[in-house]
C-alpha cells in the first residue's frame, strides 16, 4: 500500500485539487483579504458561473473554459454593481460589519433561488473533449478533468499576482488594503479602487465556476459545501496574498488527498481544517500574510 507510486499519485492528485481550490479562492482573497469585504456569497457566484457555463455548453457547445473567460467580462460589471449597492447601503454608513454580512448571506440565497427557478434543481454537467480522459507520466496518472482546472487556476493566480504587484492599478488596490486614507491623500479614490477589485473578484469566481463544473456535477445549493474551504484557503495563505492563496490551496488539496489515500476519506476535511487551526495558532496572519 505504501509504495512510491501510490505516494506520488496521491501527491499529484492533491496538487491538482489544490490548484482548483486556489482558483476558487483567488477572488475571495481580493475582496476579503485585501478589501475587508466579507463576501460570504463568493461560492454562490462560483456556482452562478458553473450554470452560465452549463447553459452555453449545453445549447451552443461552448468549451467550459472559454465560456468561463467570456462570462468573466459581464460578471466583472455584476461585481461592480454588487459592490456599489454594498458600499452605499452598508460600508458608507459604517454598518458593514454585521448588516453587510447579512447582505451577502441574503445574496447567497438569492442567487440559489434564481438558479433553482431558472435551471431547476437537477444536477448539471458539461461535456468537453478532455473530460473523462487521462494520461500517465511513468506510473503517475493525470486526469485532464483535474489537470485543466489546475492549469487554469495556476494561471489565474499568476495573472492576479502580476496584476497586483506590477501594475499601477494593482498597486493601488494593495495601497487601499494597507492604508485607505493615505491613498485618498494621494488623490486616488479608494472606493473606485475597491469597486474595481471587487468586480475582478467576482469575475474570477465565475471562471472558477467553469472549472468546478468540469470536475463534477453541480446543483444550485452546492456552493454551501465550499464556504469553509474558500475561507480556509484565503486565511491559511495569508489575507490578500495571491502566492499565499495558491500555496494555501495546494496545502489543503495535498492534505485532503493524503488523508483520503492513507487514513480514509472521512478524516480529510478534519485534517485540512486542523492544519488551518495549527497555522493560525503559530502564525495568525497566515503563511504569506503581513
Amino acid at each position: 500500500m505504501l509504495s512510491i507510486e501510490f505516494l506520488l499519485n496521491a501527491l499529484i492528485a492533491g496538487l491538482l485539487l489544490g490548484g482548483f481550490y486556489a482558483a476558487m479562492s483567488a477572488g475571495l482573497s481580493l475582496s476579503f483579504g485585501l478589501l475587508d469585504v466579507v463576501n460570504i456569497a463568493h461560492p454562490a457566484f462560483i456556482i452562478f458561473g458553473s450554470y452560465l457555463t452549463f447553459y452555453v455548453n449545453e445549447h451552443f457547445g461552448f468549451d467550459p473554459i472559454l465560456a468561463g473567460l467570456v462570462f468573466a467580462v459581464p460578471s466583472y460589471f455584476l461585481g461592480v454593481a454588487v459592490y456599489r449597492i454594498y458600499y452605499n447601503c452598508f460600508e458608507k454608513t459604517g454598518a458593514e460589519s454585521l448588516r453587510g454580512l447579512v447582505f451577502f448571506f441574503g445574496l447567497f440565497f438569492l442567487i440559489e433561488v434564481i438558479l433553482i427557478i431558472t435551471f431547476g434543481v437537477d444536477y448539471r454537467l458539461v461535456r468537453a473533449f478532455y473530460i473523462g480522459k487521462s494520461t500517465s507520466i511513468g506510473s503517475v496518472g493525470i486526469a485532464y478533468r483535474l489537470f485543466v482546472p489546475f492549469l487554469v487556476g495556476g494561471i489565474l493566480a499568476a495573472v492576479l499576482y502580476l496584476f497586483l504587484t506590477k501594475t499601477f492599478f494593482g498597486r493601488a488596490i494593495m495601497g487601499v488594503a494597507q492604508d485607505s486614507l493615505a491613498v485618498q491623500l494621494m488623490g486616488v479614490d479608494p472606493i473606485r479602487i475597491k469597486t474595481v477589485a471587487f468586480g475582478i473578484g467576482i469575475a474570477t469566481a465565475v471562471i472558477a465556476g467553469s472549472l468546478l463544473i468540469i470536475i463534477g456535477p453541480v446543483e444550485p445549493t452546492i456552493g454551501r459545501e465550499y464556504i469553509g474551504r474558500v475561507f480556509a484557503v484565503t486565511v491559511l495563505g495569508g489575507l490578500g496574498s495571491m502566492t499565499g492563496t495558491l500555496v494555501g490551496g495546494l496545502i489543503l488539496g495535498v492534505a485532503e488527498s493524503f488523508t483520503s489515500s492513507f487514513f480514509g476519506p472521512s478524516w480529510a476535511l478534519a485534517v485540512s481544517f486542523g492544519i488551518l487551526l495549527i497555522c493560525l495558532a503559530v502564525r495568525p496572519s497566515g503563511l504569506f500574510g503581513r
Binding site: 509504495s3 501510490f6 499519485n9 444536477y123 454537467l125 461535456r127 473523462g132 486526469a143 463534477g216 459545501e225
Partner: protein
C-alpha cells in the same frame, strides 16, 4: 305589506343558503385532502419535484374518473427543503390547520422518520416513499413503504449484488466497501457488510467519504485500487456517483464487479453525461424499459410524465422515482375505493392484508410495512454507445440481471469485459 317583507326575508334566506352551499369552503369539504411534505429544494429537490409531478398525474387521473368515493382529490403539500427539522412542523400544520384527510410521506428515509411519530400519534395510515428501514424502531402497523427493498431492507438492498457475485466462476474472494457519510448510504453499506460476511467475501477496504464535501474521488479510488478487491460495492449520492465513475475510469480501476448502491446512475441527466462510462456497472434499480417490467399502467403513466417533465425541467424519462411516487398514492386511493371508507383503521387493515396491483407491479407488504419480499433489481448497463437521451429509453441498455424472474438479458462478467 307584512307578507311582502316575509317573502323578501325568505328570498334572502334562500339566496344565502344557496350561496353558502356553493362557496369554495363547502366545495372544499367535499374534497379528499392528501397532505405531505416534499423535498422541492435542497439535495433531494430534483427527485422530490419529479415525485410531486407523478402524484399530480395520479390526482388528475383519479379526478378524471370522478375522484375517490365521489370526492375529488386535492394534494396539500409544503417544501421541506430536504431538511428533516422542517418535517414535524409541516405535518402538524397539515393535520391541524389544513385538516387533511390522509397523509403520505415526503421522499427519503431522513424525511420519513420525523413524520412517523405524528402519524402514529394520530393513528393515521402513512404511506412511505423510498424509506430504508424507517419503521425499524417505531414498528407502526399502518406504515407502508413503496420502495421494493424487502422485509429486511438494509440487507435485501444489496443481496442481489452479492448473489450475482457468488455465482461467478472463479468465485470472487475480496470486496471493497465505500460509502458516503450519510444515513442512506451508510445503511446500504452496512447491509453490504453483512452480506459480505454471509457470502464469505473478505473485506479489504471499508471507508466512508464526507458527504457533502468531497470534490475529487481520485485519491480514494487509488486507495481502493491498491487494496485490489475483486468486488467494489459503493453507497453514494448523485454527485459522488458521477465523481466515482469518472475517477474509476481515469485511474483504470477494474474490479470484477462494480456498483451496488450508487444513487444517481438512474437519473437521465447523469446517464446522458456519463454515456459509455456506465457500461459494465451493476447497480440497484427499480424500473427500466425492459420487456420483463411492463406492468399495467406504467407506460401510460410515463407517457404523461414525459410530456410534462421537460416543461418543469425535471428528469425527462423519470424511470427512477416517479413510477413509485405514482404507485404509493395509487395504492392508497385503491384501498379507499376497495374499503368504500375513509376510516384509517379499515384502510390500514386492507393495505396490510392484500396484494395490490399498481403501475410498479404487484405489491404485498410484510409486517414492518416494507415489501413482503424484496424486488430490488440489479441492472447492468450494457451496450451504451452515445450520450443521447434516446439511448436510455431503449430496451437492452439497462439490463435486469437479478432477480431471475425479471431477468431481461445476460450478465457480463467481469466488469472490464462489459466496459
Amino acid at each position: 305589506m307584512g307578507r311582502i317583507i316575509k317573502h323578501v326575508i325568505l328570498g334572502f334566506a334562500l339566496l344565502l343558503a344557496v350561496s353558502i352551499a356553493f362557496t369554495p369552503a363547502a366545495q372544499a369539504a367535499k374534497e379528499v385532502k392528501i397532505g405531505f411534505s416534499m423535498a422541492l429544494t435542497g439535495p433531494l429537490g430534483p427527485a422530490g419535484k419529479a415525485a410531486l409531478l407523478a402524484m399530480q398525474i395520479w390526482r388528475d387521473d383519479v379526478n378524471a374518473k370522478g375522484g375517490l368515493l365521489g370526492r375529488k382529490v386535492k394534494l396539500v403539500y409544503y417544501d421541506d427543503q430536504t431538511k428533516p427539522a422542517n418535517v414535524p412542523g409541516i405535518y402538524a400544520k397539515l393535520l391541524d390547520v389544513d385538516k387533511v384527510d390522509f397523509i403520505v410521506s415526503g421522499y427519503g428515509t431522513n424525511l420519513i422518520v420525523p413524520a412517523l411519530p405524528i402519524a402514529m400519534e394520530r393513528g393515521m395510515v402513512f404511506m412511505g416513499l423510498f424509506g430504508l428501514d424507517a419503521n425499524a424502531k417505531f414498528k407502526y402497523n399502518n406504515y407502508f413503504q413503496i420502495m421494493p427493498a424487502g422485509p429486511d431492507p438494509i440487507v435485501d438492498w444489496s443481496r442481489g449484488f452479492f448473489e450475482l457475485a457468488a455465482k461467478q466462476k472463479p468465485r470472487p474472494k475480496t470486496i471493497a466497501l465505500l460509502s458516503a457519510d450519510a444515513e442512506f448510504a451508510r445503511n446500504a453499506v452496512a447491509g453490504a457488510r453483512r452480506n459480505a460476511k454471509k457470502f464469505g467475501f473478505k473485506i479489504v477496504y471499508d471507508k466512508r467519504y464526507p458527504f457533502p464535501g468531497t470534490t475529487d474521488f481520485t485519491p480514494i479510488l487509488r486507495a481502493v485500487k491498491a487494496a485490489n478487491p475483486d468486488l467494489f460495492y459503493v453507497g453514494s449520492y448523485p454527485g459522488g456517483s458521477v465523481g466515482i465513475v469518472k475517477a474509476a475510469h481515469e485511474i483504470k480501476l477494474e474490479p470484477k464487479l462494480f456498483g451496488g448502491g450508487m444513487v444517481g446512475l438512474q437519473y437521465t441527466a447523469i446517464q446522458m453525461n456519463l454515456g459509455k462510462l456506465l457500461n459494465g456497472i451493476t447497480d440497484y434499480w427499480f424500473w427500466a424499459p425492459e420487456k420483463t417490467l411492463k406492468f399495467p399502467g406504467i407506460e401510460a403513466f410515463l407517457a404523461k410524465y414525459q410530456k410534462e417533465a421537460p416543461k418543469q425541467k425535471l428528469d425527462p424519462l423519470g424511470y427512477y422515482l416517479p413510477p413509485f411516487a405514482y404507485a404509493y398514492v395509487q395504492l392508497l386511493g385503491n384501498a379507499i375505493e376497495a374499503t368504500k371508507s375513509f376510516d384509517q383503521a379499515k384502510i390500514g387493515a386492507y393495505i396490510r392484508n392484500n396484494t395490490h396491483s399498481t403501475v410498479v407491479g404487484d405489491v404485498k407488504f410484510g409486517k414492518n410495512g416494507e415489501w413482503a419480499t424484496s424486488r430490488t433489481f440489479q441492472v447492468q448497463l450494457q451496450n451504451i454507445e452515445s450520450n443521447k437521451m434516446s439511448e436510455f429509453s431503449k430496451e437492452g441498455k439497462m439490463v435486469v440481471v437479478y432477480p431471475e424472474e425479471f431477468k431481461s438479458g445476460n450478465f457480463i462478467y467481469p466488469y472490464a469485459k462489459g466496459k
